[in-house]
């Protein structure tokens, strides 16, 4: 559908929010007492922040929850049974005020979960997701969306994209039918554009991702990985805060006879991620795991999924306890 541009006043935004919040699950960012930015379901509009750079965790959990039940079972030796999950119960979720980097991540996740065979758990959630994005008027030293083919106001992944105007009101780009559906709930809130300029932050480009991908193709054996991952302590923080990391574990949990099989987030940074039962580990040391993380996002995915596995949100770098800065490393890789 063709994009239409409207303008929406700050007060109207509150009306729209309350209207949505009254009838469906709205996932919106708030600033917690400890200054961390977290997403909450249906917080009061007064709590919702428009001034955050990035939330601590990404919002991938709306389509890829940190724990997701796959089915229930009853283990009774000869009479074991399986009970399916009713995926039709998945509710519609409206994402409110997510930044363009996070919104672009959904399509990357889709490329992982639907290549070759379709993962219904993901696609049902993705289907029911409406994204009301918010362009960035703030950024910091960790942001690098412009290096991975995005911009602080790219519309990719949004159904409606809000951008702040000079006068404090917002421009609303209505991009999809889903977005249009939101507009029709209360069309009078959306007014013709006023000609005001949008305020968008500037993010400096740090590397050229195409060149990085080319370089990586022959960089597997490079000393770079060992030299630059010495300080990596092998936690899973980068993968867990990442909006596009989709590796998972499958586990069973039983109480008595009954139990469930679930999948939960996992990270290629963990030493035991690839450990065989025999004791053999294809990725024995941290440098190999760090290489896997970068290679996966910037070399394997462009080739196999036709999408880059990174949106430049900078969470992995800002959340890293030992300052493994991915943008810095990619910049260095580009020049090896």
């Amino acid at each position: 559908m063709e994009t239409t541009r409207k303008s929406i006043r700050k007060q109207s935004l509150e009306k729209l929010y309350n209207l949505l919040s009254a009838s469906r699950k709205v996932y919106a960012p708030v600033i917690a007492p400890d200054k961390q930015v977290e997403y909450k379901y249906n917080p009061d509009f007064a709590e919702v922040t428009f001034e955050h750079i990035r939330s601590t965790l990404s919002v991938k959990n709306v389509v890829f929850p940190k724990v997701e039940n796959l089915f229930f079972y009853s283990n009774a030796k000869t009479e074991s049974t399986i009970t399916d999950i009713d995926l039709n119960k998945i509710p519609e979720i409206v994402l409110w005020g997510t930044h363009p980097c996070d919104n672009a991540a959904f399509d990357i996740l889709r490329s992982i979960f639907s290549w070759d065979i379709n993962d219904e758990f993901f696609s049902k959630r993705f289907e029911k997701l409406v994204v009301i994005g918010l362009s960035c008027h703030l950024s910091d030293e960790y942001c690098f969306c412009t290096s991975v083919g995005l911009t602080p106001n790219s519309a990719k992944g949004s159904d409606i994209l809000l951008s702040r105007l000079q006068n404090g009101d917002y421009q609303a780009e209505i991009l999809t039918e889903k977005g249009n559906g939101i507009v029709t709930l209360s069309p009078e809130l959306f007014e013709p554009i006023s000609g005001e300029e949008v305020t968008v932050t500037e993010v400096k480009q740090k590397f050229n991702h195409e060149q990085v991908t080319v370089k990586l193709a022959s960089a597997f054996e490079n000393r770079f990985w060992i030299e630059n991952s010495l300080r990596c302590i092998g936690c899973g923080a980068c993968a867990y805060v990442c909006p596009t990391c989709a590796c998972f574990d499958i586990q069973d949990e039983t109480k008595g006879k009954n139990g469930k099989r679930y999948r939960s987030w996992d990270s290629c940074g963990f030493g035991l991620f690839t450990l065989h039962t025999s004791g053999h580990n294809p990725r024995q040391v941290q440098s190999q795991r760090w290489r896997q993380r970068i290679m996966h996002k910037f070399s394997y995915m462009p080739e196999r999924n036709e999408s880059l596995g990174c949106v430049g949100c900078g969470r992995c770098s800002s959340g890293c306890p030992v300052d493994m800065n991915i943008a810095e490393q990619l910049e260095a890789l580009q020049n090896i």
Partner: protein, 150 residues
């Protein structure tokens, strides 16, 4: 709450308290039937995780009991256990987990009466405290957390 029957799990060592509990029985001393005894080789083997698992699986109270100091079958298992329990108790207190629900005791193989007393006072105390609702809620809430995304 009158029909509340506390579930109490007792983690006991094989050499003293378990034998002591046997003596309670052979001496025909009556004591509360709310207790489920789990026998261990030594108190030193009673991992604190087992206590947490008991609460997670619905216990309202716990008894941990073994040989008196200096009487350990393995010489020093109970001394190690004592240090561990001190730390565990302090940590639990700090996290707000109710330590009134755990009884630590030394019951020798000759103390059949003491065992009955330990069980009875524990069960009475738990009866007064009521079911361990807050821990059960924590466990149930955690199960709900997983399904809330559905």
């Amino acid at each position: 709450m009158s029909d509340f029957e506390p579930k109490v799990v007792a983690f006991v060592c094989n050499w003293c308290t378990y034998a002591g509990a046997d003596l309670t029985g052979t001496s025909r001393i009556k004591y509360a039937s709310n207790v489920r005894i789990i026998r261990f080789p030594c108190t030193g083997r009673i991992d604190f995780m087992l206590l947490l698992k008991a609460f997670a699986n619905g216990a309202d109270g716990i008894i941990v009991s073994g040989c008196h100091p200096n009487d350990c079958h393995y010489t020093s298992g109970n001394f190690h256990a004592k240090r561990r329990w001190i730390m565990f108790k302090e940590l639990m207190d700090f996290m707000g987990i109710d330590m009134n629900r755990i009884t630590f005791s030394w019951v020798s193989a000759a103390e059949g009466a003491k065992w009955a007393d330990v069980v009875n006072t524990t069960v009475t105390r738990i009866r007064e405290l009521g079911p361990y609702v807050s821990y059960k809620e924590l466990v149930n809430k955690s199960v709900e957390e997983e399904v809330k995304n559905e």
